[in-house]
Amino acid sequence: EAGVTQSPTHLIKTRGQQATLRCSPISGHTSVYWYQQALGLGLQFLLWYDEGEERNRGNFPPRFSGRQFPNYSSELNVNALELEDSALYLCASSLVGSRETQYFGPGTRLLVL
């Protein structure tokens, strides 16, 4: 069974540009989560999508946004990139329910110059 996939693996942008990151969940999983892993800040929750709806977001500015498609894949968009947005962005998927395990993809490393 295929795991969570993310693309691209690496992304280099300049300040002010927009970045789009993509995630495909494990087959059968309807929930997708996005986390940011920045140096010195640990793993921070960004967004949670389920059944095409944004269910919750973390403490990030509105320029971080995303969506979930009918096939449950998801996209994270970061507008007006800032240097501090440089980080590893991890996507996870799970079945619905608080007891369910979140399985992570390999991540997209975003570098903002």
């Binding site: 969570v4 993310q6 929930s31 989560y33 986390y35 640990g42 793993l43 929750f45 949670w48 269910r55 919750n56 973390g58 991890l90 996870a92 608080s98 007891r99 395990t101 979140q102 399985y103 992570f104 993809g105 390999p106 991540g107 490393r109």
Partner: protein, 114 residues
């Protein structure tokens, strides 16, 4: 708010020795606790979780964790360490307050010396 703490930034163990990576939690209600491992330039790999039931949870790659309610701890253990166990380990707790998100500890760098 739910939180976990990993008191050690780094743990060094000789190959073949038992290893312990510590995690303490602070939650309201019953905790759902998880351990993940991250190898260099990789995502997180799920090791094990505690939801309810036996306090000793067995997971992948020979790892296990002991849930201790009185000490609010969920330490990760392995009887005999391998050099390939060297990685970054994260403890996490499920947040029930609307987000269903995982709240992570700051991570512990485990180094197994040959």
């Amino acid at each position: 708010a739910q939180s976990v703490a990993q008191p050690e930034d780094q743990v060094n163990v000789a190959e073949g020795n038992p290893l312990t990576v510590k995690c303490t939690y602070s939650v309201s209600g019953n905790p759902y606790l998880f351990w993940y491992v991250q190898y260099p330039n990789r995502g997180l790999q799920f090791l094990l979780k505690y939801i309810t039931g036996d306090n000793l949870v067995k997971g992948s790659y020979g790892f296990e964790a002991e849930f201790n309610k009185s000490q609010t701890s969920f330490h990760l253990k392995k009887p005999s360490a391998l050099v390939s166990d060297s990685a970054l380990y994260f403890c996490a707790v499920r947040d029930f307050q609307g987000a269903q998100k995982l709240v992570f500890g700051q991570g512990t760098r485990l180094t197994i010396n040959p």
